[in-house]
């Protein structure tokens, strides 16, 4: 910081104090009401108006400043940090404020965290998906903390009449090193608020070696509320005089309401209204159905159980999973009709191969099944809509509701709630569209509650798929050719459904000299969507099990075979730090091997299995240790995870994500599948869709290589390697090669 900077700080501060609190109240509007009360005691608040997503412009607790920013430091020393993105269990509500607090040099004990309101102009992107929150906000949040810190330092320097460069910060205080003087952030807050905002680009951010908070274990900021049962989730929202609703749709997507016993439903106790909605033609927004509005959740659910609807299914889905399986098997020996990519000369490689392996892999449709069933509370009155929603994409939901109901976007407020599980399901805002429509129709606040059966019947599923592989190893035992005929689904006959796509950039294709990837599309109406680590969650199973088959055929150790394919350390796309780096890959593979004791001798019936996968810019190697007993009784003792996602923000949260992803992966591969017939998902609740229980969960041990590459997200990439690692371990333990999921289909049980 130089003198010119201080001069600018003082000049801008004078201008910033001009506007009165009254002006502020008028310009804030109701969106910012909560934050305004927070400012009543004065202090420093920082808001960031994003221009092009990078530039911070305003940061004064006065004037035109909208206090719904990132940081508010009160004169009493408390530091309020707003976490902007939805908390869906990925730990972002704790991680984001930690990033700010690190650069701010705040004492974590002084920090209080609140969920930010939805405001694109202030916060930019507010969404949870694609493991993008940390990578896309890393610089922005560090800059927010650094800017606030610089202003506090400037305030202290001004107070003491010393150069800012002589000051340092620690634990929410500025210290003048030479004189030992010390002022807490609270004491400096009002003075700092009078100063202008420095250009964040002028500030130097910390080196990783200087981190005090990042990389440590911090317990989740909502944990106290969670363990004492305080309301946090969408389902917990209460609006005075609100009503309760259910919404019943055709079990086959695309079906419309024919006849319904609405008069009978209206006469049931507690029922206020029952009516048909035609839908807006969008499966991801408002499907046709019957709304029942009642004076309690139970009255609405109870009436729903007595609802009788004759559906018009003339345009509804007729999809059949068993037919698709038959068709895919028929296609197994052919190439796909469409060539997605080809490199080298596979025909030549096969003709000179020492060993050739062919295998057909299958994985089923699965549901997201977040434990909090879809719900949404909406309140429409006087042209204004308030919505309380557990959603991963609040901004997109707002746009949908505005368009669908013809309400200007600035008349809609989305209140972020904690989300009882996302996994990609809540990228869609169908329940929000339904609740908003019902509230507008009845002119009253309403909480829409889906049942578990609704949730499983009307998901955007992880699509099933089939891979017909042919691979070769040459005389020297090297992988020499790879063919994959991918049979997937399409709703338009042109391109695969979401999550059902393959590309030549999918690991390990870019590392194979001779490969051929072809595709066949089967028709599908059932809606599909992103499911935790879309595409990779399924493709990793098929591809990394087949990869192991080739290592076995070559008579090679899997670890050695895998490292050989990685080759020398390099970026596969030199221009992108989000690309696969074979050196990082090899490092996590070696680390997992070391920690899991790869190569150790194990008793009969026990084995280790390895898989590496690269998704969402994360490098992950996992090794499973399993036993296979009589009657295919399976025990997964332990899964060792080694990962490189750059620097770790919250070590506790990061480990939790990896442990959870591995257990999610095992739960899904073990016993979860949806059988779709006549357009209907047959499974309706957890008795038919048996998530893993605690008794069968493996111990998951997590090791991070904390590299200095830019951080990448952790919500997803630990999941894909789990299934192939476990299947490869089953092979090592029993000699049984799993080529179809779930494992229960092949007779395995826990």
């Amino acid at each position: 910081m130089n003198d010119q900077y201080l001069h600018d700080v003082i000049r801008d501060a004078e201008a910033a104090f001009e506007a009165s609190p009254e002006t502020r109240t008028q310009t804030l509007g109701r969106r910012s009401f909560l934050k305004l009360t927070g400012l009543a005691g004065g202090g420093l608040a920082l808001a960031f108006y994003l221009e092009g997503g990078t530039q911070a412009l305003a940061a004064q607790a006065s004037g035109e400043f909208a206090p719904n920013g990132f940081i508010h430091i009160s004169p009493d020393g408390s530091i309020l940090i707003y976490s902007k993105n939805p908390e869906i269990g990925q730990g972002i509500k704790t991680a984001f404020p930690m990033i700010i607090a690190e650069e701010l040099d705040a004492d974590w004990e002084d920090v209080r965290v609140e969920q930010a309101p939805i405001d694109q102009a202030v916060y930019g992107r507010q969404a949870a998906g694609g493991s993008r929150s940390i990578p896309s906000s890393w610089d922005q949040l560090r800059q927010a903390g650094a800017v606030a810190r610089a202003m506090l330092v400037a305030a202290a320097a001004q107070e003491w009449g010393v150069p800012a460069g002589e000051c340092r910060t620690e634990k929410s205080a500025v210290i003048h090193s030479r004189s030992g003087r010390r002022l807490g952030y609270g004491e400096l807050a009002n003075r700092a608020a009078a100063l202008p905002v420095p250009d964040p680009k002028s500030l130097t951010l910390k080196e990783r070696a200087d981190y005090r908070l990042l990389g440590t274990r911090v317990t989740g900021v909502d944990n106290y509320k969670l363990v004492t049962g305080q309301p946090l989730f969408g389902i917990d929202q209460v609006v005075p005089d609100m009503l309760y609703a259910t919404y019943t749709k055709c079990p086959a997507p695309g079906g419309r309401v024919g006849q319904a016993n609405l008069d009978e439903i209206r006469s049931l106790p507690g029922v206020k209204q029952a009516f048909v909605l035609e839908g807006n033609g969008q499966l991801a927004e408002l499907r046709p159905g019957v709304a029942i509005v009642a004076n309690s959740t139970w009255a609405a659910i109870s009436a729903k159980q007595q609802l009788r609807v004759t559906w018009d299914e003339s345009e509804a889905a007729k999809d059949s999973w068993s037919d698709a399986v038959k068709r895919a098997r028929e296609l197994a020996n052919q190439s796909g009709s469409e060539i997605l990519g080809e490199t080298g000369d596979t025909a030549k490689a096969f003709s000179s191969a020492a060993k050739t392996v062919e295998a057909f892999y299958t994985y089923p449709f699965v549901s997201h099944a977040p434990l909090e069933p879809q719900n949404c509370t909406a309140w429409y009155r006087d042209g204004v809509m308030d919505i309380w929603a557990p959603t991963q994409t609040p901004q997109r939901g707002l746009t949908s509701v505005a368009k669908m109901l013809d309400i200007p976007e600035d008349r809609i407020t989305i209140h972020q709630t904690r989300v009882g599980g996302g996994f990609g399901r809540r990228l869609m805002n169908d329940s929000m569209c339904e609740a908003a429509t019902i509230s507008k129709q009845i002119g009253a606040p309403v909480k829409l509650q889906w049942t578990r059966e609704d949730d499983m019947a009307h998901d955007f599923y992880r699509v099933g798929g089939f891979h017909s592989f042919k691979g070769a190893v040459d005389d020297s035992g090297k992988l020499s050719a790879w063919e994959d005929h991918f049979v997937t689904f399409s709703s338009d006959g042109q391109k695969p459904v979401t999550g059902g796509n393959m590309s030549t950039s999918e690991f390990p294709l870019p590392l194979i000299a001779n490969f051929r990837l072809t595709q066949t599309l089967l028709p599908l109406v059932t809606p599909c969507g992103p499911w935790r680590a879309p595409r990779s969650n399924a493709v990793a199973f098929a591809g990394q099990c087949f990869f192991h088959e080739l290592a076995v055929a070559a008579g090679r150790d899997h670890l050695e075979f895998l490292l050989e394919v990685m080759g020398k350390p390099r970026w596969l796309d030199p221009g992108s730090s989000r690309a696969l780096n074979t050196g990082r890959a090899a490092d996590v593979i070696r680390l997992a091997a070391e920690k899991a004791g790869w190569g150790k001798s194990l008793p009969e019936g026990r084995g280790l299995g390895l898989a590496f996968y690269f998704s969402h810019a994360g490098h992950f190697a996992e090794i499973a240790e399993v036993s296979v007993g009589a009657s295919k009784k399976l025990t997964v003792h332990k899964v060792t995870v080694a990962a490189d996602v750059g620097p770790i923000v919250n070590l506790s949260g990061a480990e939790n994500q990896c442990q959870g992803a591995v257990i999610d992966g095992f739960s899904t591969m073990l016993g979860l599948e949806l059988s779709i017939e006549n357009g209907r998902v047959q499974e309706s609740n957890f008795d038919q869709y048996p998530l893993l229980q605690l008794a069968h969960a493996p111990e998951v041990e997590v090791h991070f290589i904390q590299s200095d590459f830019p951080p990448t997200g952790l919500g997803e990439p630990a999941l894909p390697p789990a299934a192939p690692a476990i299947c490869n371990a089953i092979f090592a333990a029993s000699g049984h090669r799993v080529r179809e999921l779930p494992l229960s289909r092949e007779g395995f049980s826990v």
């Binding site: 969670l226 049962g229 389902i235 009255a299 909090e372 996302g422 578990r452």
Partner: protein, 165 residues
């Protein structure tokens, strides 16, 4: 429709106009505003709605509110002491940062609390048998860790008490 008298977390409540078929879950959540008990499946499969009835764990989505009349109901909101002192399980859940989305955790804690009430030092197999509630996020490693940690603390505390007596 009848009026129900329910004893919840040491307080007597009168709930009017209750459909006799209403599951206890919805009386707790909608009528009494105790939303810590969660709705997950409505079929008794997931355990998110677990509460104590006379100290035993029950899935409140699958029992009628009328069947809880005259019995002592404890929900997650009533697990801590009257002075706000957290149950050792609640403390352990925070210490080990168990939750991810957190939606199932009230039910998990209530299941664990009932277990420890009847069995102060459960074996791994006994924990397995008692903890059948589903966690979609897969926090099972930490749930086990937190239970064992609470068991340790509680046995230390009771050993101290016995030693002092």
């Amino acid at each position: 429709m009848p009026t129900l008298r329910l004893s919840v977390n040491g307080q007597e409540h009168s709930v009017e106009e209750v459909d006799p078929l209403t599951p206890l879950l919805w009386v707790l959540r909608d009528s009494l505003g105790l939303s810590g008990t969660k709705f997950g499946c409505g079929g008794g499969f997931c355990g998110a709605c677990t509460v104590h009835l006379d100290g035993s764990p029950v899935r409140s989505c699958s029992i009628l509110a009328t069947s809880a009349v005259g019995r002592k109901i404890t929900t997650i909101e009533g697990l801590a002491g009257d002075d706000g002192t957290l149950h050792p399980l609640q403390e352990a859940w925070i210490e080990h940062d168990v939750p991810q989305c957190g939606y199932c955790q009230a039910g998990q804690i209530m299941s664990a609390a009932a277990l420890l009430e009847s069995n102060s030092v459960p074996s791994d197999a006994e924990i397995d048998a008692a903890m059948t509630g589903l966690c979609r996020c897969g926090t099972y490693n930490r749930i086990r860790l937190a239970i064992n940690s609470a068991v340790q603390k509680m046995s230390n505390t009771s050993a101290r008490k016995e030693g002092g007596a």
